[in-house]
């Protein structure tokens, strides 16, 4: 393989050498003809050697070229001409000096050139290190860190790279591969594991697991191994020392960033937990307060009815029973909201996605609401075409019911509520319009907040827990949709939300 690659190079260099020698010889012959001093011919040949060694690079070439010029000089210019014989033994010294000077100067040229290359390489190395460091410092999140490290190392070596990060309990959290997946074989997995457990490099080019495809290096921090980097060069090559050194320089950087990200994530987590804890406390307080209102009514009416059974008239008893039923129903709604919210918070609500006709969901929601209220006129506008959506029908129905109940609670009796369904691009819109008092500008930004209760005005009869709209928002967002509220003209509220039509979600 190696020879094959170099062959055209050798031929090329030989041709260049022949050309240079030819030019030197012709020039020298002309000089000789016009009787210019013989020593100049030596200089011209030496110049040729210098020139050639500058182009060709390689000590063997310069040695060969030096021998060649000596022979050429001897052949063309030393008596007897056109033979390799030498009459005057003095010339032997000339030859020797000529050879030594040619060789040494060409070697020096080569060395200068090589050193220049070395400086250039180092500069590139440092700048690429600097660049990678800068990229690593700017990543957001552990996942991006894995991606960036794999990308950069792969770019640097033009190799397939594996980056694995483990958490403190040794569970693999991120695995990123840049290039081809060549790390799957049993041996490679074992080597990777060994690297993680021992904290020292393994794999190709080392003594352990040398039959694997890749070289594995640990990502170390003071508290142990955080991850493993695997590098698999093309052409079955092992990593050079410089390349290994590069990984050794880069992996502590990765470890530092990784630790930083871990700490950040932990902080965020704690912050969220504190917030959730506070919310839960708030919720308990609100719940117990809000549940007490209907309960007080139920208890009061039941005990009054029971204690004074013979003293009160049948119509009063009937009224009591009816009110008890209504209060219990209200209580049930509140409990339902709490239950769904807690389920949602714990992430226990699983979307039960199915293909549903959007109009069926609306109709189901409207008929459900109508069962409890006859004092409002609910109008439904649906398009002629049948719109199918991939949603959890029960939850979306709940969203519409919650919005409708809000509309009913906040607008006067006999008002008209319009529910519309329409399609715009790939979004399916559900819209509920009422002509109640509307929502003031100050309140608009808060209405999706949990436990937010609007200032109750004289129209409203029952107070909810302020869970309804925040729950709606969570459900719609779980469907990759959005929900928004704005004011209706001349007064009233419009609540609108969309989910993606089935073509998109599929």
């Amino acid at each position: 393989m190696k020879k094959f690659k170099l062959k055209p190079n050798i031929i090329k260099n030989l041709v260049i050498m022949m050309a240079i020698m030819f030019v030197c010889t012709v020039t020298s012959l002309i000089f000789d003809h016009i009787r210019i001093l013989e020593s100049n011919i030596v200089m011209i040949y030496l110049l040729g050697v210098l020139l050639f060694s500058f182009i060709a690079e390689g000590y063997l070439y310069s040695l060969f070229a030096s021998v060649c010029v000596v022979l050429l000089y001897n052949f063309f210019f030393i008596e007897p001409q056109y033979t390799l014989k030498v009459d005057n033994p003095d010339y032997l010294i000339t030859f020797l000096v000529m050879f030594i000077v040619g060789w040494i100067t060409s070697m020096l040229t080569i060395r200068v050139k090589l050193e220049r290359q070395l400086v250039k390489d180092r500069e590139e190395y440092i700048s690429s290190l600097y660049f990678i460091e800068e990229r690593l410092l700017n990543v957001k999140g552990v996942e991006e860190l894995a991606i960036v490290s794999a990308e950069e190392i792969s770019k640097q070596f033009k190799a397939n790279v594996l980056v694995e990060f483990f958490d403190s309990t040794g569970v693999l959290v991120y695995r990123k591969i840049e290039g081809e997946e060549v790390f799957k074989e049993n041996n490679d997995c074992l080597a990777c594991l060994e690297t993680y457990q021992s904290g020292s490099p393994c794999g190709r080019g080392t003594t352990l697991f040398s039959n694997t495809k890749a070289y594995y290096s640990p990502v170390l921090s003071q508290n142990g191994v955080l991850g493993v980097i695997g590098v698999s060069l093309n052409d079955d090559l092992s990593l050079s020392n410089a390349q290994r050194a590069f990984i050794e320089v880069i992996s502590p950087q990765i470890a530092v960033v990784l630790k930083k990200e871990r700490i950040y994530e932990k902080q965020q987590h704690t912050k969220m937990e504190i917030q959730a804890e506070r919310l839960r406390a708030d919720m308990l307080r609100t719940i117990s307060h809000d549940l007490r209102t209907p309960l007080a009514g139920i208890m009061g009416m039941a005990s009054t009815g029971f204690d004074n059974y013979d003293k009160i008239g049948d119509d009063v008893k009937k009224n009591f029973l009816k009110s008890i039923y209504e209060d219990a129903e209200w209580l049930n709604e509140l409990v339902e909201d709490v239950l769904q919210t807690t389920q949602y918070e714990e992430g226990r609500i699983k979307l039960n996605i199915a293909e549903e006709a959007a109009e069926e969901i609306i109709t189901a929601a409207v008929t459900h609401v109508k069962k409890h209220t006859s004092k409002y006129k609910i109008q439904v506008n649906i398009p002629d075409e049948i719109i199918l959506v991939q949603v959890d029908g029960v939850l979306i129905r709940q969203v519409i019911i919650n919005i409708l109940n809000n509309a009913i609670n906040y607008s006067p009796e006999e008002s008209v509520i319009i529910v519309s369904l329409y399609c715009k691009d790939d979004q399916v819109f559900f819209e509920v319009k009422d002509n109640g008092p509307g929502i003031s500008e100050e309140e608009l930004p808060h209405i999706f907040e949990r436990y937010y209760n609007r200032n109750i005005n004289s129209i409203t009869k029952r107070k909810g827990m302020g869970l309804g709209l925040s729950l709606c928002k969570s459900i719609v967002e779980a469907h990759n949709g959005k929900i928004a509220v704005c004011n209706n003209e001349p007064h009233g509220t419009i609540v609108r939300f969309y989910v993606l039509s089935e073509k998109e979600t599929k």
Binding site: E356, E360, I361, A364, V366, T367, V380, I386, V419
Partner: protein, 231 residues
């Protein structure tokens, strides 16, 4: 003879108010608090209707249905807790006739009981006879001539729409699961069939002039199925 209703629920308060409200309708009542008792009473008394709560202390309500279905075709109304939608559909697919979600209104339950009892007294002629004329409000389905009228105006249905409508009419008042309908009309349950069913129902609703804010004929039970209104 008074119809006999068997109530199965592990909560005493629910059993007692159900019993009172059912007896006010002139039906007779027996009750059981667990699955084993329920099976025993169902086989020994052969009630006209079984009201079954799915959350029983000793066994899964679904098993009660499956075991009963092996020996009897008695109508079963299932009562399930809110949020257990899958359980509900499973019960219907296992052979339950109807369902109610807790907390339910007693009026609703009594209405369902009446529907079932009326179908029972009509005998099973309607579901077995090849041809029959159904009349629901202003909708008339003549299976002999394979024609459908709404407000004395004939409406044109595709073969599948017609088949779905007849299937619903044959089981008037009873909720039919998506699975049941697709199996009966399309003969299988493939993903495309749910889509076909939704589109078919949508077209059917438009043709019989349903008001989307207040359906007169076809009730959609989201996540469960469809029902043709009875009363």
């Amino acid at each position: 003879m008074k119809p006999l209703i068997l109530i199965v629920d592990d909560e005493t308060s629910i059993r007692s108010f159900l019993q009172v409200s059912i007896e006010t309708q002139g039906y007779k009542c027996i009750d059981a608090a667990n699955g084993a008792n329920a099976l025993m009473l169902a086989t020994s008394h052969n009630p006209d209707i079984l009201i079954l709560d799915l959350g029983l202390p000793d066994m899964d309500g679904l098993d009660v249905i499956k075991r009963l279905r092996k020996i009897s075709q008695m109508p079963i109304i299932v009562i399930s807790a809110r949020g257990h939608d899958r359980e509900k559909v499973e019960a219907l697919d296992a052979g339950a006739d109807d369902y109610l979600t807790k907390p339910f209104s007693v009026t609703e339950l009594l209405a369902r009981l009446r529907v079932i009892l009326r179908h029972k007294s009509n005998g099973n002629i309607s579901s077995e006879a090849e041809t029959f004329t159904y009349k629901v409000k202003d909708l008339i389905i003549d299976t002999d001539k394979r024609r459908v009228w709404n407000h004395n105006e004939e409406i044109r249905l595709t073969p599948n729409e017609y088949k779905v409508l007849v299937l619903l009419a044959k089981n008037q008042g009873k909720v039919l699961t998506h699975r049941y309908i697709t199996e009966n009309i399309w003969g299988g349950i493939v993903a495309e069939d749910t889509q076909s069913l939704r589109v078919c129902m949508g077209n059917l609703r438009r043709k019989i002039g349903e008001d989307p804010s207040q359906p007169k004929y076809i009730i959609t039970e989201i996540g469960v199925g469809y029902r043709l209104i009875d009363e």
